[in-house]
Amino acid sequence: MAILTIQSLNLQIENKVLCRNLSVQIGENQRWGLLGKNGAGKTTLLHALIGQRHASQGSIKLDGKSISDLKQRELASKVGILFQQGIEALPATVFETVMLGRHPHTQSLLWDDHKDIEIAESALAAFDLDKLKERPVDTLSGGELQRLALAMLLAQTPQLFLLDEPNNHLDVAFQVKLLSILTNKVTETSASLIMATHDINLAFRFCENIILLLAGGESLVGRSVDVLTEENLSQAYGCPIKSVSSGDHRLFYPA
């Protein structure tokens, strides 16, 4: 069953058309990569999916309901996003911060539910932050902050994960770990995810499906093996891109 249905979506900022007639259906347990060069509209598209950009045409439906008909809180309980700029380092503890991820689900006005605390704690543990629980956020490193932002997203337990360049500030080991944590989560909860990234190789390895944004608002949507070709990528990025293949793997590099 489709979690997210985007139908003939048009998005524009000022006079620049970023998306024209984009239609995508995202089902359970799917991982989508969102690629395109700087300014192609990756972030704008993700923001549209949380209702922060109004489409000039077309519709975005979540579980069959248009997102503009959903209450903000209802939408937030189903769709979670990791912002490109991560989270700000304000004076608060790591645990206080990760608990914010439970905000769309909290029932009690004053008290924290045991279930919420458990979910938040296991989200911290997933990103190896459990030992930093009481640390003030403004003493964390860039990578730790990014992991905290990801833990907060995990704590939000959305059906649809939106990730805007999740690998920012992460070392290679954590990049790989992040992807396996997210894959497990998506499988475990029959969720799905859309990841905007500049790393074509990672997208190919990790996402079965791709939305490739081209210049002028055109886009290519389909399976990674079909969309991620030398020709398409060269067109999308406006620079020649080559690839080498070995078995099922494909490695892309600028020629």
Binding site: I50, Q52, K71, Q72, R73, L100, P104, L109, L110, W111
Partner: protein, 326 residues
Amino acid sequence: MIAQKQILLLISLTGFSVASIVFSLLSGSVNITATELAQSIFASESSLNSQVLQEIRAPRTMAAFVTGGLLALSGAIMQVLLRNPLADPYILGISGGAAVGALSAILVGATGFWLSNAAFAGALFSIFLVFGIANKFSNWSVTRLLLTGVVVSAGWGAVINILLTTSSTNNVQSMLFWLMGDLSQSSVNPAHYLLLFVGLVGGIAVSRSLNVLIRGELLAVSLGVNVQSLRLLLFFSASVFTATAVTIAGSVGFVGLIIPHMLRLVGARDHRILIPSCVLLGGSFLVLADSLARTLIAPQQLPVGVVTAVIGVPAFILILRSTIRK
């Protein structure tokens, strides 16, 4: 998470509030003992001392508590709304509007009821002026609101200076007292208590959303907070709290800025704790400051706003230093 430590903070602040009120009731030029205080509360005897308590000290003490509570509450809300640590209840020009109203009233010789109403009217006018200029419903940006407020504030400042420089010496004295914040003419009515109570309960009710909003607008939206309507609510409630506080006591400085910061520094960052703590500490701080204002150089009185700064500045610096060392 609400830890035991924070519950303890609330309990001790409650104790501190009661102690400050008792201290205020006991201090003054007429010597009243604790026994007499208890007698006047629990027995209906009408001695001179109980008259002093019931008709002079109690109303003034409660006026100080309500004003301080409203100011600290308003300051905490403004700091979330504007996401600026320098924000205080007066930053959007509300006190400026109130001051122009009050000073004009003093100029034409009005006192008491009319003075208060003129101040309140000035404050309301300023709120709608700022809102009207800053508001584009589709794009209600915080920077725009802040800039509008600061500019309107500056405008009021100029008008205040005109009023001060063109008034007679007699009037200038009372104008200055009003501007620095003064509780000698103050009294509270049930509506003021009700407003503080509603502010407290309402503030606690939205405190989870405040915890999220202070982290940034976009994040708050993504976590399900209806930012547009929450901001409108915060703007108007903080404005009404400020307008009421300046109507009671003039523009008492400092309470609204530093009480929320002090509390955050000692660990009350969660608004579920911060909001009630602000009401308690803001209230008791102003009660203490006012007791000193009327006793330090008795029989003369100081404007309470001077005392809040004199105790507040060193206290704040001490807390700031001790938390940096950790």
